[in-house]
């Protein structure tokens, strides 16, 4: 029996591990590699984050928002037909796709926006790749009456036009980023530049567990509601903890949110799935943990896709949300320490899983989440029928139907 006592069912600060240390390091990873102008704002943010994540009023407001605005807890759904077809372990889906705005991203934006409000910042900015974090940021900004500016790579604006329109409907300004590779990493650069210039009135809502300390820990803590619920729901449904958790990893926020509350449950395998794009061997992928090397980008040390001169390489994935050359530093640490393992799945494997789950379960998953689903099939197949795994269905696929249609040669 591997069930352990429940951690307090609230957004208390990460008590599961000693990481990060006081300077934001996860072993050799993480840290705060930024220009001097950001040091003071980051210290201010860190102080506010520590204060409010131990503040009963803040936690009550956060809990109320997650319940009544986001729609938590999200269901833990047993995918019966799919499990039967796979023919191994039972597969449960943690339905983050059912959250308001359609992905796990809103767990974090609700938290950071409440923090911004407490800190007296009337303006929020965000970077976005697939547009899910941008939409989630624009959504909470609208609700709290804050102005919102979202940086998005020009390339991504093309392939995610419905989300661009959603952000605009919500009153956000969407600024196209035309520097570098015109994708998520460049949007992050541009948002950091905006923040440097406007630190007095602006709160930067980073969407993933990357960036300088305290972002990787703070975003993890806001997202760890996913794992806490999964833990409780597993005990309720199966009377024990899952044999494995599977989640896709771009920056890694849905994965760390799922994994973190299970870190000390050593019988639960933690498996992150990166985007192998056209295949890791082709070099056209987004899988730094599988095929990258450590380096420093966007304020933290982590695994990166970089060339022989230390320049950051362009990434490739059918899913804009995984198209990022770095990964959260805690994942780098979990990989090195062996507590989590990281696999990768190609575009075509993810698309196959996307179609299969849509037909078998009546759920259209995000292309990002489809990577986790594709790996879960391989994993479950070789497991016993009395075992069970949980896949984080981190987002819904409505935003991706144009991409999939285009692959099928259909114009919508």
């Amino acid at each position: 029996m591997n069930a352990r006592p429940e951690p307090a069912d609230r957004a208390g600060i990460g008590h599961e591990t000693a990481f990060p240390d006081a300077a934001g390091h996860f072993g050799p990873y993480g840290g705060r590699f930024v220009a001097e102008t950001l040091m003071e704002p980051l210290q201010e943010l860190e102080a506010a984050y520590h204060k409010y994540l131990n503040d009963d009023d803040f936690l009550a407001e956060l809990d109320d928002d997650l319940r009544h605005y986001v729609g938590r807890p999200s269901p833990l759904y047993l995918a019966r037909r799919w499990s039967e077809q796979v023919g191994g372990a039972k597969i449960y889906l943690k339905r983050e796709d059912l959250n308001h705005t359609g992905a796990h991203k809103v767990n974090n934006t609700v938290g950071q926006a409440l923090l911004a409000k407490r800190m007296g910042k009337p303006r929020v900015i965000a970077e976005t790749g697939a547009g899910q974090h941008g939409v989630a940021s624009a959504t909470v900004a609208a609700r709290l009456g804050m102005s919102c500016c979202v940086y998005m790579g020009a390339e991504d604006i093309q392939r995610q036009s419905p989300n661009v329109f959603r952000m605009k409907l919500l009153g956000a300004e969407v600024r196209p980023v035309t520097s570098g590779s015109r994708t998520l990493k460049d949007a992050l650069n541009e948002a950091l530049r905006d923040w440097v210039a406007n630190v007095d009135d602006t709160f930067y809502i980073i969407g993933t567990v990357a960036g300088p300390h305290p972002y990787p820990a703070m975003v993890r803590d806001f997202q760890s509601i996913i794992g806490r619920e999964t833990r409780a729901q597993s005990l309720e449904r199966e009377g024990r903890l899952p044999d494995a958790l599977v989640a896709c990893v771009g920056g890694g926020s849905n994965a760390i949110g799922m994994f973190y509350p299970f870190i000390n449950d050593h019988d639960v395998a933690l498996i992150g799935v990166e985007a192998a794009g056209e295949g890791v061997e082709t070099g056209r992928h987004s899988a730094p943990l599988s095929a990258g090397t450590p380096g420093v980008l966007h304020g933290n040390r982590t695994y990166l896709m970089q060339d022989e001169c230390g320049q950051i390489e362009e990434t490739h994935s059918v899913s804009a949300g995984l198209d990022y050359p770095g990964v959260g530093p805690e994942h780098a640490w979990l990989k090195d320490s062996g507590r989590a393992s990281y696999e990768s799945v190609t575009d075509s494997e993810a698309l196959d899983a996307f179609r299969r789950i849509t037909r078998l379960e009546g759920i259209i998953p995000a292309l990002e989440s489809s990577h986790a689903l594709a790996y879960a099939e391989k994993l479950a197949r070789d497991m016993r029928r009395d075992q069970f795994i949980v896949v984080n269905l981190s987002g819904r696929g409505d935003k991706d139907i144009q991409t999939v249609a285009a692959i099928d040669g259909i114009t919508l």
């Binding site: 930024v34 220009a35 460049d186 440097v196 210039a197 007095d200």
Partner: protein, 271 residues
């Protein structure tokens, strides 16, 4: 003493303020970089900051971002940067050269090898924009061992405790960032930051240069009134970006730097 200290000592003895000019190595091409460095010196630069191109220059504004992209488009590497400095050194033994860039290419080469090769090429100091003193425990001893100065930034929002910490870690000179923003953005408003610059000068125990958002001879002269040196980058890189023949670009750069120099010196004489 190294070239940086020598140069500031000469300036102090002459009662002059320093002019530090920035260009990106490899922009427009690696072959042009040494000639442009000489043009900066002919125009009156006291110290040259040479940008090491990086794919993700998050502290730089559009002008220097584009310069980095141009340099990387033809594959400018750290090897090329060292070669350019070595070529410059063949004809200029005295002007200090400071490399300014981001940590990842340095770390990728290995801090020790980077420091040794930089020193060998004739580099005098290094400013790694995204490496605050807190994170520099690995890099600092390597730079020191190679005899390189390590320049750190102080920002307009750095509290006193941080200013002390940064000044204690720095050598060569302290780089005071005059605006909250990226390079080449809005213009600095000296009244707002005067007190912070004073604090920095008090704790530094070494020269303080002021840069970011200083784009014109007038602004340079004004900034020279509150610091030991003025740092100008984007305005020069813009001239290179406009293009033309190699000679024409070098001439235009020299002319602009001369105008900065004259304005700074005229102010010093008037004061």
């Amino acid at each position: 003493m190294g070239r940086i200290a020598d140069r500031f000592a000469e300036l102090a003895a002459a009662g002059r303020k320093g002019l530090i000019t920035f260009i990106t190595a490899g922009d427009p091409g690696v072959a042009e970089t040494p000639a442009l460095m000489h043009a900066l010196v002919r125009g009156g630069a006291d110290v040259i900051e040479l940008g090491v191109p990086f794919s993700d220059p998050m502290a730089d504004g559009e002008v220097i971002q584009r310069a980095s992209e141009r340099a990387l488009a033809h594959g400018t590497s750290l090897d090329d940067v060292f070669a350019a400095v070595a070529a410059f050194r063949r004809d200029d033994a005295s002007t200090p050269v400071v490399l300014m860039g981001y940590l990842n290419p340095v770390e990728h080469m290995g801090a020790e090898r980077f420091a040794e090769r930089a020193a060998e090429a004739g580099v005098d100091g290094v400013l790694i924009v995204d490496l605050p003193p807190e994170e520099s425990a690995e890099v600092t001893p390597r730079l020191r061992a190679a005899g390189l100065d390590e320049i750190f930034l102080v920002a307009p929002n750095s509290p006193e405790a941080r200013i002390r910490k940064v000044c204690a870690a720095a050598s060569g000179f302290v780089y005071f960032v005059s605006v909250k923003g990226v390079t080449g953005s809005k213009s600095a408003v000296l009244e707002e930051i005067g007190a912070r610059i004073e604090l920095t000068r008090r704790f530094a125990g070494m020269p303080v240069g002021i840069g970011f958002g200083i784009r014109t001879p007038e602004a340079a002269a004004e900034a020279a009134g509150v610091a030991d040196a003025v740092i100008v980058g984007s305005a020069i890189v813009e001239i290179i970006e406009r293009g033309g023949t190699a000679d024409a670009v070098a001439d235009a750069v020299e002319t602009f730097v001369t105008s900065l120099r004259s304005a700074i010196d005229a102010r010093a004489c008037a004061a």
